[in-house]
Structure formats: structure tokens, C-alpha cells
């Protein structure tokens, strides 16, 4: 991995992420009134997370089978509103146990 492009990538990421947080906080004082834009912004986090999760999650562990079981455990435990950390750890545990038997 070359160092200069890597540093530039890190700077690009940091600057864009910061600007997205900073510009509205520094400038916007009034509520956005455009209903379409507000609706779009309302749904975008779920759309992003869903698109990032599936099917990429199937390649996140040593085997698609353990990943699928980890996903199942995450979905079920999330249905019980266990919170971010418990759901993530249960999912890891399910993968660990499954791969032990594979």
C-alpha cells in the first residue's frame, strides 16, 4: 500500500465527513421545509446501512454459512431491542460457535 495516496485518501475522508457535520451546524438555523428532501434524509441512513450489510455480510467471515447464522442471530436479537453492543457481540459469538463445528 503506497503511503502518499493513502494519506490523501485519509484527508479526503476526514474533510468530507467533517464538512457534512460542520456546514449545517454553522449555517442552518431554520428547519428544512422541503418535504421531499426531509423524507429523503429521513430514509437515507436505513437505505445506506441495508445496502452496506447485504450481501456484503456473507463475505465478512471465514464462511458464508457462519456469516448467515451470525446475521440470523443479529436479526433475532435486534428484534428484542437489545442495543448495538449486545447485538454485535451475540452475532460474533454465533459466528465463532458455528465455525467451531464447520
Amino acid at each position: 500500500m503506497e503511503i502518499l495516496p493513502l494519506i490523501l485518501h485519509i484527508i479526503v475522508m476526514a474533510v468530507v465527513t467533517y464538512l457534512v457535520r460542520m456546514v449545517p451546524l454553522a449555517i442552518f438555523r431554520k428547519k428544512i421545509t422541503n418535504r421531499f428532501i426531509r423524507s429523503f434524509l429521513h430514509y437515507i441512513p436505513y437505505a445506506v446501512l441495508a445496502a452496506m450489510t447485504f450481501p456484503a455480510i456473507l463475505q465478512s467471515t471465514a464462511s458464508p454459512i457462519s456469516a448467515a447464522i451470525g446475521l440470523g442471530v443479529a436479526v433475532v436479537s435486534a428484534c428484542f431491542d437489545l442495543g448495538l453492543l449486545p447485538v454485535a457481540l451475540l452475532s460474533c459469538a454465533a459466528v465463532f460457535v458455528t465455525e467451531f463445528f464447520l
Binding site: M1, I7, H9, I10, V12, M13, V16, T17, Y18, V20, R21, M22, V23, P24, L25, A26, F28, R29, K31, R35, F36, R38, S39, F40, L41, H42, Y43, I44, P45, Y46, A47, V48, L49, A50, A51, M52, T53, F54, P55, A56, I57, S60, T61, A62, G70, L71, A74, V75, A78, C79, L82, L84, L85, V87, A88, S91, C92, A93, V95, E99
Partner: protein, 229 residues
């Protein structure tokens, strides 16, 4: 100073959660060939889970700077909404440079905790709230990146799913409350599968796939079920 320490204490549970997820980020980064310093530098300067994992994907795929910038913009667009909302909750007379500092720490969890506070938010409270999560996010990345060479493959494989477990934990409760969110998630997943498996379009890079899938799914939601005023 009291306000600072109150925020500092309130930030502890967020910090604990961040430590484990950023360990997963550190491990993933080093496993894929990124040097430790770079993983830690990303966490110190970005402090955002989804954006960092996506950025890692773009860098590893030798994507362009524009692609990485667009990926960050789309994935982190939600922060713009949170910052707008936070700006409505600030105490009167917060100075511009204080807003510049607070903006850096406006993550999903810190924002959620700050919004839940009674009354207006002071910069001192928010600085306190940012402190432990930032330290834990950076420290967890360092710990995960350093430990990855020592840990057995089975542990590394299990931790690989951690970030996705967290994503699921954010999306599922919202799906339980809203049919529209279920529709948006279904569209996003269907498109994302299409970009993975259909010939021709599966050659498009991951960063742009996420942007296209997410934007189309969110537009679908905004058209089918616009939010109430």
C-alpha cells in the same frame, strides 16, 4: 467546568460500545494490508463507523479520491440532518468557533444522547460528551490493529461480522416501527444483490454501488411515504 464533567460521564457507555466496534475496524484494516498508523489516523480524524468501513473498501479496491469523497458524502449525509437538528437545540449565543468544534463529534450515538437531554445544550457539555467516545474510538482501533497479528483466525473471523451486527441493530428496530422503512430496506437489499450478482453491473465499484442503491431506496421511501410535517 461542571457541565464538561457531566457530559464526560454521560459519554462513558457510548465509549464502551465504540471500543469494541473500533477494534473490529482496526482488525479489518490491518488484515487487509493497511498499516496500523493509517487505521488509527482514520479513526482519530473521522470518528464514524459506516463511513470508515466503506472508505476502507474504496481504498483497498484502489478507488479514486472522487469515489471515496462521494461515498463519504452519501453515507454520512445523515449527519447533516443531525447537525441541523442539533443547531436548533443549542444554547443561545453559542459562538461560531464553538460550533466548529462541536460538529466534529456529532456521531449517531452522541447526537442521540444530546437530543435526549432536557433543555438547551451548552458547548462545555457537548465537549465532555465527545471526549470518551473519541478516545475509545481511537484507542479501540489501535488495540484491534495491534492485536490482530496475535489473535487466532477464528476470533478474527468472528469479529469480522461485528460492524454488520451493529448495522442490523440500528435498522431492525426502525423496521419494526415503520412499514415504509421495511420497504426502503427491501429495495436497498434487492438493488445491492443485483449489483453483486447480475452480469455487467456487478463490475461497478462497491462505493458507487452503495451510493446508487441507497439513493434509489431513499427516493422510493420519500415518494411512497413522505415524512409528516
Amino acid at each position: 467546568m461542571n457541565e464538561y464533567w457531566k457530559g464526560f460521564r454521560d459519554g462513558l457507555p457510548i465509549g464502551l460500545g465504540y471500543f469494541s466496534v473500533s477494534m473490529a475496524f482496526g482488525m479489518a484494516a490491518v488484515q487487509s494490508g493497511m498499516p496500523i498508523w493509517a487505521a488509527v489516523a482514520i479513526s482519530m480524524s473521522n470518528m464514524t463507523s459506516a463511513g470508515q468501513f466503506a472508505g476502507l473498501t474504496v481504498i483497498l479496491a484502489a478507488g479514486s479520491y472522487l469515489e471515496n469523497a462521494l461515498t463519504q458524502l452519501i453515507i454520512n449525509l445523515r449527519y447533516a440532518l443531525m447537525s441541523i437538528s442539533l443547531s436548533q437545540k443549542l444554547k443561545e449565543g453559542v459562538r461560531p468557533f464553538e460550533r466548529l468544534i462541536m460538529a466534529f463529534g456529532n456521531t449517531d450515538e452522541i447526537f442521540a444522547l444530546a437530543s435526549g437531554q432536557k433543555g438547551a445544550i451548552t458547548p462545555a457539555y457537548f465537549y465532555g460528551l465527545m471526549t470518551l467516545p473519541w478516545l475509545c474510538w481511537s484507542g479501540g482501533t489501535l488495540a484491534g490493529a495491534s492485536a490482530s497479528a496475535l489473535l487466532p483466525a477464528a476470533i478474527l473471523s468472528a469479529f469480522g461480522i461485528a460492524i454488520y451486527g451493529m448495522f442490523v441493530a440500528i435498522v431492525i428496530p426502525a423496521m419494526k416501527k415503520s412499514l415504509a422503512v421495511i420497504g426502503v430496506v427491501a429495495v436497498a437489499v434487492a438493488l445491492s444483490c443485483a449489483f453483486e450478482w447480475l452480469p455487467l453491473i456487478n463490475r461497478l465499484s462497491d462505493g458507487f454501488c452503495i451510493i446508487i442503491c441507497a439513493c434509489l431506496a431513499a427516493v422510493f421511501g420519500a415518494v411512497v411515504r413522505p415524512v409528516e410535517d
